[in-house]
């Protein structure tokens, strides 16, 4: 700081407006909902303070809660699967395609589409064959009739169908992030490595991977946190149904707060989700610090 010769007041002037906005829009609501989570409140009328009863009910008596936590975590794990894939694709694009920008943008397209459109699109793809579902029609064309499912309404497969849509949607996003990361690695390094005899996969192992780790970390954190909060796509496609089979924490929270009108209980679920996201972020950061130390 001394190098820059900037007074603390100046720093404050530049940082405070944004910080205040951030605090008001992020921290205050979190605190408010933490407070609400100790209430028995329908969101409208009078409320009574019940301490930690909401949490007690959540952890011990709510039959939907733990399965929805499991599905949320599964969602997060599945979303991590695509990141190595995105990295591979990014490396391939970077190496073998002359003008990769067009491809990268087309992979990116699902990300900028509205989730509602994506939901409707995949709903029609997943429809049963009798309703003209594309996926099932394709399976039947190839003689794989036994593979057909009513993808979104069979409790056992519905959740996997949803995971897949999320993978499809965000592949381009992670691809773009890592592609940019790879492009930032100076070409000279590769040239030097080539002279030393490191080419192809070897170059990736000793140059690309270590240098792309910080970017990789961003991808992982974004994918993990993003899928913990997954809500809109599920809401559009199944609404958490059939019979809670696709409920994750966020949809359960919504249903509790706004449909069952247990606003206090919904806030307790929200608080749990915040804590889960924060600890996941810390965990991932710690893990990556170790990996980075090892690699560098």
């Amino acid at each position: 700081m001394n190098v820059l010769k900037v007074s603390k007041a100046t720093i404050a002037v530049f940082v405070l407006p944004c910080l205040l906005l951030y605090v008001c829009l992020v921290f205050v609501p979190i605190l408010v909902s933490m407070y609400s989570s100790t209430l028995d409140w329908n969101g409208i009328g009078t409320s009574t303070f019940i301490g930690l009863d909401n949490f007690k009910h959540m952890f011990t008596a709510d039959p939907v809660f733990w399965p929805s936590v499991k599905r949320t975590l599964m969602f997060a794990l599945f979303s991590m699967l695509e990141i190595p894939l995105a990295l591979m694709l990014a490396i391939l694009l970077n190496r073998y395609i002359k003008r990769p920008n067009f491809l990268v943008s087309s992979y990116f397209m699902p990300v900028i589409l509205s989730v509602v459109i994506i939901g409707q699109l995949w709903k029609t793809i997943y429809n049963p064959a009798s309703m003209g579902g594309m996926l099932n029609q394709v399976l039947i064309t190839f003689g794989l009739e036994s593979w057909t499912h009513s993808w979104l309404t069979e409790p056992k497969v519905a959740m996997y169908a949803l995971y897949f849509v999320a993978l499809w949607q965000y592949l381009g996003y992670h691809l773009l992030i890592q592609f940019t990361g790879i492009q930032n690695i100076p070409a000279e390094i590769y040239e030097a490595a080539k002279i030393d005899g490191a080419d192809g996969f070897k170059a990736d192992r000793y140059i690309t991977f270590p240098m792309v780790v910080p970017i990789f970390k961003i991808s992982v954190v974004l994918a993990f946190i993003g899928s913990l909060q997954s809500f809109d796509m599920i809401m559009v496609m199944t609404g958490g149904g059939p019979a809670h089979a696709t409920d994750v924490i966020a949809t359960h929270m919504y249903n509790m707060s706004f449909l069952s009108m247990k606003y206090g209980y919904g806030s307790a679920l929200a608080t749990f989700l915040v804590v889960l996201c924060l600890s996941a972020t810390i965990l991932i950061n710690t893990l990556f610090r170790r990996v980075e130390n090892k690699l560098s």
């Binding site: 329908n42 969101g43 409208i44 009328g45 009078t46 073998y96 395609i97 491809l103 087309s106 397209m109 459109i117 409707q120 699109l121 709903k123 029609t124 793809i125 997943y126 429809n127 049963p128 064959a129 009798s130 309703m131 579902g133 594309m134 009513s150 979104l152 309404t153 069979e154 409790p155 496609m237 199944t238 609404g239 149904g241 059939p242 019979a243 809670h244 089979a245 249903n255 706004f258 449909l259 069952s260 009108m261 247990k262 606003y263």
Partner: protein, 453 residues
């Protein structure tokens, strides 16, 4: 790689275009049903409502659930509001038009911060009770006495919006549940209107064997299946079952409830409903019927208008929900008193708002009738439907209203929201897996006990 990506892009673009086209259909759901006879009519009664002639500029916020300006409901709203503003230059009615789900959420959010709009929409009984209990809604008894408004309503309908002898909202509709059927498809399969529920299950099987989709339902919305299930329950138990539960005279483990679950499952297991019903929303389900892809559709009579506006117009008939195991009276219906207009107790212009709402409701049936949308209005409508050019279906349903011998409200209008949600989920589950009826009953009772302490 470059070449295959082009192919991929083209395929994706094609899929997207198709799906957009498919979405487009959904929007036709309820457009334009009343024809274009609205133009140039300004013969609405000139009841000027209030007796104050103040010059003060007043804005009244009017939250409503008629967002699509092409629907007859929205045309009725705009006509009356326009007339009122013309007669009262100092008053501006600001419309906040939202679709049903958005409005429900918005009102809840507004209520949490005590900022209910001057006029808003609530649903009957249990659904509006939290707002009444929180003192957010103004009693409308005095407003109903003005200009004889109270007498325009059908007998008993206001009870659904009354608490402790105060009326807190005035309804825009009063409907009953019926079964619509496609006459052409029935003829094709050689089936007749089923006289009993058991015949209905047989009809379903026959239709299915002929390759015709027997029934459709938009079960993603969950209330749709519950509405049908409750009609079965109304037959097996007679009216007032949920009230008996709340009065602790019965439990959900009552034989009538178990019988209803079993009967309902028979219908589902016979393959009555389209595959993937639980991921299809209300509009998508209704569209299947309106495009002639299904033979039967169980719904509130409010669907009449949009069915008459679709490609199956003229091919659709209607029948009462039949008896189940020989029990019940087909003249008892699932009653659906409509969403209703309520006034904020904390409105800055309470008197002006009431005056406006009085004017609005006094003119409502007349303008609705002119817009060919008066089937299922909660008020008495003067005029001959057949002579005014309403469809046979509309006339038939309108005639059905006079034969209604009571019935029951939907589950979510009767029980508190938390219990209702558990019920809705349990019924949705029956669409995807066969469940022991006793287990369903027990689950209901547990939910009821947990949420009604």
């Amino acid at each position: 790689m470059a070449k295959s990506s082009k192919v991929l892009t083209t395929v994706l673009a094609g899929v997207m275009a198709l799906s957009l086209a498919a979405c487009g259909n959904g929007n036709n759901a309820a457009t334009n049903n009343g024809g274009t006879d609205n133009a140039g009519k300004d013969n609405t009664t000139t009841n000027t409502g209030g007796n104050k002639a103040s010059d003060e500029k007043i804005t009244i916020t009017f939250q409503n659930i008629y967002p699509d300006p092409n629907t007859p409901s929205a045309r009725t709203l705009n006509k009356i509001v326009g007339d009122y503003e013309a007669a009262h230059p100092n008053i501006k009615i600001e419309l906040d038009s939202l679709n049903t789900d958005q409005q429900k959420i918005k009102l809840k959010t507004q209520a949490a911060s005590q900022e209910v709009p001057d006029i808003t929409i609530v649903n009957p009984k249990a659904q509006m009770k939290p707002y009444v209990d929180a003192g957010l809604l103004a009693p409308l008894n005095d407003m109903l006495d003005q200009n004889g408004l109270k007498d325009t309503f059908q007998q008993g309908i206001l009870d659904f919006y009354s608490f402790d002898n105060n009326v807190y909202a005035v309804p825009d509709g009063n409907n009953v549940a019926v079964v619509y059927y496609n006459k052409e498809l029935f003829e094709q399969a050689g089936v007749k209107i089923p006289a009993t529920f058991e015949e209905m299950v047989e009809t379903v099987k026959t239709l299915k064997s002929k390759g015709i989709q027997p029934m459709v339902i938009g079960e993603k919305d969950t209330w749709t299946g519950s509405f049908l299930f409750m009609n079965v329950l109304l037959r097996t138990s007679g009216p007032g079952f949920l009230q008996d539960i709340m009065d602790k005279k019965k439990t959900f483990e009552d034989p009538a409830f178990v019988e209803a679950v079993d009967a309902f499952q028979n219908l589902v297991q016979a393959g009555a409903f389209q595959e993937g019903a639980t991921s299809m929303d209300y509009n998508a389900g209704e569209n299947l019927f309106k495009t002639g892809k299904a033979a039967m559709y169980f719904m509130g009579s409010w669907a009449t208008g949009s069915i008459d506006d679709s490609s199956v117009k003229g091919k659709v008939g209607v029948f009462k929900f039949p008896t189940v195991n020989g029990k019940g009276n087909p003249d008892e219906f699932m009653l659906a008193p409509g969403s209703a207009f309520a006034v904020s107790a904390k409105s800055d212009h309470l008197q002006e708002t009431k005056d406006f709402l009085n004017y609005f409701m006094t003119n409502y049936p007349k303008v609705k009738f002119e817009n060919k949308d008066a089937v299922g209005v909660a008020q008495k409508v003067d005029g001959d439907f057949a002579a005014a050019g309403y469809s046979d279906l509309a006339v038939e349903i309108n005639g059905m209203f006079s034969g209604v011998k009571g019935g029951d409200l939907s589950f979510d209008n009767t029980m508190n929201p938390a219990t209702s949600q558990e019920h809705l989920t349990a019924i949705q589950n029956l669409f995807v897996q066969k469940t022991d009826a006793k287990e369903v009953a027990k689950q209901h009772q547990t939910a009821f006990d947990a949420n009604n302490q």
